[in-house]
């Protein structure tokens, strides 16, 4: 489908939001609390935060919840009854106000969940989610989408992309997919004719800092490098980077029961945890933090491109912002590019 360009006036934005809520969509939008901006279900437009470069967490939780039930079981007199989770009742939802880099993350997650067997639980959620992205007019020192093939006005993955066109507060709306078209159909009168807005003029300027293909080539021979140990010395091995990341998909499968019944759930896990790869025998293939840090970088910038044909990083910078010890991914990637093997 060709991208259709329209124009939305400042005061039409709220009307569009209200129209979506009125259509019974579950709308996730950025809300700021305790100084952190996260996607929450919002019914009231005034609660939405406008002043953020990036949300603390990515929106992946909508399609890949941190705890997702996969089946229920119940012990009965005949043994055990097992009921797979019914994926159909997932609500039609809209993610409002995500950044283009987050929308790219949708595709990267999708690659992981579909490269071999298809994860229909994930796919059902994606199918029912519409992404209304907002281009970036500002970037900070953590952002590096342009270094991994994105840009502040990237349409990839979004259903509609809104670009703030100057001080006036009006928006250029790019309707990218059929889902985006359906949003427009919810309030067609709000989508006016595009007066010919020059989108690029309003986007943040963010020169690329490294070349992801160069990094990828370099990583092929970088496994044994001492750089990993040097970089990860201050890493304390928590899972913050993985949990705020829009593309990290590592998970655990756990059973939880109360009395005779319970559920099996799929829940987030992180390659940064020391017990992630621990064998029951006590042997651990990735014993120290440098090996785990290497896995994180290699997986995103070498293994994923090779096996899944996508990079595992959108350049959103959340991992660096959320890191308690300032493990700055951009800085580390640049240093990998600079170090001689």
């Amino acid at each position: 489908m060709n991208i259709e360009k329209r124009f939305i006036r400042k005061d039409s934005l709220k009307k569009l939001f209200d129209a979506l809520v009125a259509k019974n969509k579950v709308v996730y939008a950025p809300v700021t609390r305790n100084g952190k901006t996260s996607f929450r279900i919002v019914n009231d437009f005034s609660l939405i935060s406008g002043d953020y470069i990036q949300t603390t967490q990515s929106s992946k939780e909508v399609t890949f919840p941190r705890t997702e039930k996969i089946l229920d079981f119940e012990k009965n007199k005949d043994g055990i009854g097992v009921k797979p989770v019914d994926i159909q009742p997932v609500h039609e939802s809209v993610i409002w106000g995500i950044r283009p880099c987050d929308a790219v993350g949708k595709g990267e997650l999708g690659a992981i969940f579909n490269w071999d067997s298809k994860d229909e639980i994930f796919n059902a959620r994606v199918a029912k989610t519409t992404l209304i992205s907002f281009s970036c007019s500002r970037a900070d020192e953590y952002c590096f989408c342009t270094s991994v093939g994105g840009n502040p006005g990237n349409t990839e993955g979004s259903d509609i992309l809104l670009t703030l066109a100057g001080e006036g507060g009006d928006y250029l709306a790019e309707i990218i997919t059929e889902k985006g078209g359906a949003v427009m159909a919810a309030a067609p009168e709000l989508f006016e004719k595009d007066p010919g807005i020059e989108k690029d003029k309003y986007l943040a300027s963010l020169p690329a800092r490294f070349s992801h293909t160069e990094i990828r080539n370099k990583l092929d021979k970088f496994f044994e490098s001492e750089e990993w140990a040097r970089q990860s010395l201050r890493c304390i091995g928590c899972g913050a980077c993985a949990y705020v990341c829009p593309t990290c998909a590592c998970f655990d499968i756990q059973d939880e029961s109360h009395g005779k019944s319970g559920s099996r759930v799929r829940c987030w896990d992180s390659c940064g945890f020391s017990l992630f790869t621990l064998h029951t025998s006590g042997h651990n293939p990735r014993e120290v933090q440098s090996q785990r840090w290497r896995q994180r970088i290699m997986h995103k910038f070498s293994y994923m491109p090779e096996r899944l044909s996508v990079y595992g990083c959108t350049g959103c910078g959340r991992c660096s912002r959320g890191c308690p010890v300032d493990m700055n991914l951009l800085e580390h990637l640049i240093s990998i590019q600079e170090v001689t093997v």
């Binding site: 089946l71 097992v82 071999d116 067997s117 590592c250 998970f251 655990d252 059973d255 293994y303």
Partner: protein, 278 residues
Amino acid sequence: MRENIYLPYQMKIERVTYEAPGVKTFMLKFINEEDREKFEFKAGQFGEYSVYGVGESTFCIASSPTRKGYIECTFRQTGRVTNALSNCEEGSIIGFRGPYGNVFPIEEWKGKNLLFIAGGIALPPMRCVIWNCLDLRENFRDVTIIYGARSVKDLVYKHELKDWELRKDVKLITTVDPGGESPDWRGEIGFVPTIVEKTAPSAKDTIAIVCGPPVMIKFTFPVLAKLGFSDDNIYTTLENRMKCGFGKCGRCNVGKVYVCKDGPVFTLAQLKDLPDEY
């Protein structure tokens, strides 16, 4: 194709066999007739076995794909799930997802000699391929099995070892570590690599399949090399921690290789290309 890829087949424990201290074999039958008929696997593949309310655990299918209608698994009681499995009685229902992973290229081995080398609890993954080959015995030339364990009581599949011993078309060599023998032990005494060096057949036209604890593997490979086995003719299986079994949970990869998809079966030549992460 199952819509929910995490959904296990319901399996009934048909028979429990005590193999060795802490080691049991389950014969599992599909509760659903349709599942039973559709289910197919090949030697070398593994699955996720689960006790509802406790969790899932990964291990190989220990029965041969030539024996239809059921699968068998052998496990040692070590962690939470294997402990719970161990407490299951005949008739209880457990979950099974699979089969996952790649297979031993048995087709390619036609007309060759086979040398199986296993240590301790690593005979189960081997047993699958041994029976598979024995059931197609006419396809192969000499078959030699070298199996060692710490002590006589730690040898698993004792009744099958007897079967193999009696067969004229199989050469079976069993061994126990020094000090592990019983008064009536008639097999070899010594560590597996030493016994391999002493008793292995010629490397010419021979495929070696090696499974065992890391330390055994580490010392057996050089012996095989010395005997003239090429890296392409030595097979083994890797076991890394896994949760999903289909390349999503992110746990099992060794470099860019996913053990759950590209493995668990590897040739030594392939292993040498991998980083030391297993």
